[in-house]
Symmetry: C2
Subunit: 259 residues, 2 copies
Amino acid sequence: MRELMAATGGEDVVYLGDSARVPYGTKSLDTVRRFALEDAAFLMQFEPKLLVVACNTASAAAIDVVRERIDVGVVDVIAPGSAAAVEAADGMIGVIATEATIASGAYQRAIDELAPGREVIAAACPLLVPIVEEGRDQDDPIVLHVLGDYLRHLQRARPGALILGCTHYPLLSGAIGKLMGPEVELISSARAAAMTVRDRLAETGLASTRADRGTLRCFTTDNAERFAKLAERFGGCRIDDVTFVGVDELEIPAETARQ
Amino acid sequence: MRELMAATGGEDVVYLGDSARVPYGTKSLDTVRRFALEDAAFLMQFEPKLLVVACNTASAAAIDVVRERIDVGVVDVIAPGSAAAVEAADGMIGVIATEATIASGAYQRAIDELAPGREVIAAACPLLVPIVEEGRDQDDPIVLHVLGDYLRHLQRARPGALILGCTHYPLLSGAIGKLMGPEVELISSARAAAMTVRDRLAETGLASTRADRGTLRCFTTDNAERFAKLAERFGGCRIDDVTFVGVDELEIPAETARQ
């Protein structure tokens, strides 16, 4: 959301955070697919120009089925992140992401399509999301210990680029960069996806031409106050317009989407 | 579930694991309350003799509203765990649990009712659930590092008893015991709740009198295979009868329960 608003200043954004059912990254792909379809169907009521699946796990599990069922352009985070990594460096590419994203093989496939035969080393890092959500900062000894554990093989393998394949990981990019060394290019899927959105809107003539900043409306399935607090840490700005929406409200349009 | 089946050999048990929406411990109390009511309403279709809210966070958030809406005896894990701690030792009682459980103040209130004025030191330990679910064992250096961080104040405070106020924590009881020392009595809410169930069934004349073991039926809202694997680690036995139930199926009886 932060990268998107930076890249496309004049666009109105509607954001849904399914906080009541997160994390998606430790769930089965079937469950994530069902949730992602419901989330997408909910957002369609706002008649967006473009839908962004701004979660790596949801992109990995559900992008095909969302594209199939949703009647608007859909941008994911995995294809843009993979393209950015392939362009950023030669040689091996590292990917760190949730269990579900890694298990899906989505990054491996996307990189192989763009650069056939390029070696990919993937590591699932299940504790990083809860560590970020707990609010630990990057020089916390536990953060460094856990990162050191997950990155051990990648440090030895010395990839040209390392994809931070989860929305939460860029908040640890300082520590990850220190552990991996300056010669490893860190790739944020979020920034790459935001650039894709900007380009896609420009190509299709759908980009807003107004000069003032767009509006942001946020919905969450859990507590709006808690959401605002977390969003402040992630987005770096105060978000006041947060509306609660029950998960049962999500499930009605999903039924329709399924038909 | 393991403690319950050990304490009440001849009873049939129906278990629902809301795996698609866990963890509950990082969500707001409102959301946990809604989920717990839905879970309870789902289980009522099996016409149980007794309903056990076998999750500390759900007990903390929802026990009153579940008791109010559900027309059968309800056993929680917080009252039995608190009673066991009060009996086990004099002096201060420590509680470790999820963010939501600690924030609810449920253990603090329950202990104060049983032993007015007894000092309680509570510590939220948000990373312990994901650490256990990741499958790390008790001598993993990260497990010891994280436990050391959470238990620092409790080690200095030297409580007489420490309540392991989350289903997952007894899997780390070896490491917790080593860090706290042998003079601190570790209290498993699960065992205490299972004893309460056994006593309640005996008192009300509802206990099964048959000699052979009862049956176990499990339902999960996520992937049945994943559930079986995790249940094996927690329960120490193979569970074959696991049925998937969609979260949307949970939400229908919940609507009824709300009316």
